[in-house]
Amino acid sequence: MDGFSKYHFKDLEENEQIIKVLHRNWFYLFEQFFWILVISIVIFLSVVLGPAYFPNLLGGEFRPTALFLENFFMLAIWIFSFIIWIDYYYDIWIITDQRIINIEQRGLFARKVSEMTFDKMQDISVQVDGFLPTMLNFGDVRVQTAGEIEDFIFRTISDPYHIKNIIVEMHKKDELNSTERLGDMIKEKMGQGSE
């Protein structure tokens, strides 16, 4: 739990421990914000330098209109930036010692929470595609599940190979615990039978 005590999730079991909390890689956020940043700089420069370079368009009698439009775009950009931030920050994967929880935030009006216990896990693969993902070490981790349950995909997460190792380790621990529990149950039954 160390390092994760600042997070509070409502649906954790009493003795459940958080192993890892994952967001998408910072580059995903940068990609989303890049054009917003460019537009903001253009607006800022048009407010500061515009009247000097384009006195007919941004100064004089058109000044109130130009200021209003600049302010309006800034407001729109501010709101849009927070929509992107919400989409990034509230879209997370939580690996605990018992299961994987996926909280998927899509914009403001779609939110999906799903979970998978380690015993449902069948296969796990990592996909790192392209120059930048390879250089910055981010990619997708796909956990294939048994039956009709949808596959779990950790999208554009940092250090996907390390995350894969953590999941494999948790899966092995879970299998070991299940075997131990089964052994205990058999011992108990045999003890009852011999009495």
Binding site: Y7, V21, N71, L75, Y89, Q105
Partner: protein, 74 residues
């Protein structure tokens, strides 16, 4: 005729932006994973959005709409 139409349109767009802001605040309050991030994000969003909404409204009221439309039309 054109000026009231523009004013109505402006208030509709501003209202939609206000509604989006309310949804953003709702998400921050109910889905934040830590109290610290909730408080910081809320303070940042509300203070800047508040100032921008207020100044936008004030700038709109000071717009010489009649002048603008008379120049556009003729």
């Amino acid at each position: 005729m054109l000026i009231p139409l523009v004013q109505i349109l402006y208030f509709i767009v501003l209202g939609m932006m206000a509604l989006l802001s309310i949804f953003i605040v709702y998400h921050i309050i109910f889905y934040s994973y830590s109290t610290f991030s909730k408080l910081v994000t809320l303070a940042l969003f509300i203070s800047v959005a508040g100032v921008l909404f207020l100044t936008n409204f004030l700038l709109f009221t000071q717009l010489p709409l009649e002048d603008i439309f008379s120049k556009v039309m003729y």
